[in-house]
């Protein structure tokens, strides 16, 4: 295994932003991290890039537990490169930016030149080699940052939303670069995105992060939704039902067909007599009950089949039966819009 995370948490003050029980990444594969803003994607990538230390738990890289002293970190970071969502280029020329990582690795001049030229060609920016970085467009900055990372020929390339704030043409270029790095150089790629389509196009495996936790199964509770404007409000319709949602990433647009993921743990049930006061109160019927890792999985028919996870205590306090009519309350935090 390339990475193994065991009970890794990251807290800032009293707020836990990452809580991973167990997660592993294999070498030479492409992974996509999907989730809304604040889900912990960047925090996880920073951990994997050895730019941040877990508050608790263990991170193993190539089967060795990571030790967070300067010398070890520098050695590990020289195998892993992170490309930020809004990359920073150092003052100077494009060439010097790409050369930086090679210089600190003491790569000989001839080899440096070869790698820089190759990397610039890969990102179709060979003509920009001696241009000053000031004045480059957002897409060009991203491509230079990618070239800077690719020139280092890292074992792992971590990209935080590589296609964010980039036009469609540049998005395609960036995705091709990532795909090429994996297929030709066998670079392991872990990237975060809001686009389910991108993860399906590129990734061997997709991970869904919600509230700092990994969602067990991305394939469940994904529904086609429609966004419609009623008055000043943009509403998310799942069939005839209204779903509460927040859209911090600005993905939503009027009259758009989108996909939405509903976190099974963020759904509340109540007997049909007492309609849920905090949720949207969608009427449904329990059609299956299973016990799963100290949780109760309930399948509720609300039109589509909705998976709900309840804790054992919660279920014991208020048991449900198959065919029982229930009101379904969905928290806005549990709804993730996917493009």
């Amino acid at each position: 295994m390339l990475y193994e995370l065991t009970n890794v948490t990251r807290t800032f003050g009293s707020r836990t932003v990452l809580e991973i029980d167990s997660l592993s990444f294999e070498a030479r594969r492409i992974y996509a991290l999907i989730g809304p803003n604040g889900a912990g994607k960047t925090t996880l990538l920073n951990q994997l890039a050895f730019l941040d230390q877990p508050s608790s738990g263990q991170l193993c890289f190539q089967s060795s537990a990571v030790s967070y002293d300067h010398a070890t970190l520098t050695r590990l970071r020289r195998q892993v490169v992170m490309v930020d969502q809004n990359p920073i280029l150092f003052s100077g020329s494009v060439w010097r930016n790409i050369e930086f990582g090679l210089k600190v690795r003491k790569i000989p001049l001839q080899e440096r030149r070869r790698r820089i030229e190759y990397a610039l060609e890969r990102v179709t920016m060979a003509d920009f080699a001696h241009r000053d970085v000031h004045g480059l467009s957002g897409g060009e900055v991203k491509r230079v940052a990618l070239a800077r990372a690719l020139a280092l020929e890292p074992k792992v390339l971590l990209c935080d939303e590589p296609t964010a704030n980039v036009d469609r043409e540049h998005q395609e270029i960036i995705l091709k670069i990532l795909s090429h790095a994996n297929s030709v150089r066998h670079t392991t790629i872990i990237f975060s995105t809001h686009y389910l389509s991108q993860s399906r196009q590129l990734a061997h495996r997709t991970l869904l992060l919600q509230n700092g936790r990994l969602s067990k199964n991305l394939e469940e509770n994904i529904f086609g939704v429609r966004l419609v404007r009623r008055g000043d409000e943009l509403q998310c319709c799942l069939g005839d039902h209204l779903l509460p949602f927040t859209d911090p990433d600005g993905l939503a647009g009027e009259n758009r067909q989108m996909r939405a993921h509903i976190d099974p743990a963020q759904v509340r049930l109540s007997p049909v007599e007492q309609k849920n006061s905090t949720g949207s109160g969608i009427a449904g019927r329990v059609i299956a009950l299973t016990w799963e890792n100290s949780k109760i999985r309930i399948t509720v028919d609300i039109g589509p089949k909705l998976q709900v996870l309840l804790g054992e205590q919660e279920f014991t306090a208020r048991p449900y039966q198959v065919l029982q009519e229930v009101a379904v309350g969905i928290d806005a935090r549990g709804v993730t819009l996917l493009n």
């Binding site: 490169v81 930020d84 990359p87 150092f90 930086f100």
Partner: protein
């Protein structure tokens, strides 16, 4: 008005005649200002870097003390250093009083807080992402520090120029610790004060012109370097 115009005319003539006394005074001024800025930089830049880069207990207190020291009057520094290096002071045997070294010591105390606080400000303005970018590209801690230094170079240069400007224009320390000895410790500002006391405005105005010219030249060089360095960071 006539007095000022006449003084200016005479001052220009004095400058054009390459008056040796005037150039001697300018030389002393530049010498002490250069070395005090150099030594203050040697201490203030690393200190500013350390404070800006690290989080530790008492950091805020140190920042408050440094900000307070920015307003330290030159006569207070003069008095403190005088009490240390005068014949009865603990450093009396070194016989530093009324030497250029004494002025340099006093001026270092004056501008170390200037260099340190402005360096902290310059480093703190650099986006945290520069550090992470340098680190993820494989830089060691010191190489990352060098990257930050390069990105903050204009702020740091501005700190040094401000410090140089502060010492070349100060009069209290030079007068109290240097003694305004002709040919040894007479600086532009102490000479100007003396000439004013004597009612001789010509040399005072000439020195004032030189002082202003230096301020202008230093800023000109700064702007020139800013243009050159902008495209030549790494």
């Amino acid at each position: 008005m006539d007095l000022l115009v006449d003084s200016l005319k005479s001052a220009l003539l004095l400058l054009l005649s390459f008056d040796p006394e005037l150039f001697e005074i300018v030389g002393v001024s530049l010498n002490v200002s250069f070395f005090s800025t150099l030594f203050a930089a040697l201490f203030g830049l690393p200190a500013g870097f350390f404070i800006a880069f690290n989080t530790f207990r008492g950091k805020r207190l140190i920042m408050t003390c440094l900000n307070t020291l920015l307003a330290l009057p030159t006569v207070v520094i003069g008095l403190v250093v005088y009490s240390l290096i005068s014949r009865r002071g603990i450093f009396g045997p070194l016989e530093l009083l009324y030497t250029q070294k004494a002025i340099i010591i006093g001026q270092i105390i004056l501008i170390v807080p200037v260099v340190t606080t402005l360096t902290i400000a310059a480093i703190s303005r650099i986006d945290q992402r520069y550090r992470n970018t340098a680190l993820t590209l494989g830089a060691t801690y010191y190489q990352m520090g060098w990257v930050i230094f390069l990105e903050a170079r204009f702020g740091i240069m501005a700190a040094l120029i401000a410090a140089f400007g502060r010492v070349i224009a100060e009069v209290g320390i030079s007068m109290m610790l240097g003694g305004n000895a002709k040919g040894f410790t007479r600086t532009m500002t102490t000479a100007m004060a003396l000439e004013y006391d004597k009612g001789e405005f010509v040399l005072a105005v000439a020195l004032g012109l030189v002082l202003m010219t230096f301020a202008f030249l230093v800023n000109l060089v700064f702007h020139f370097l800013q243009g050159r360095l902008k495209s030549d960071a790494l």
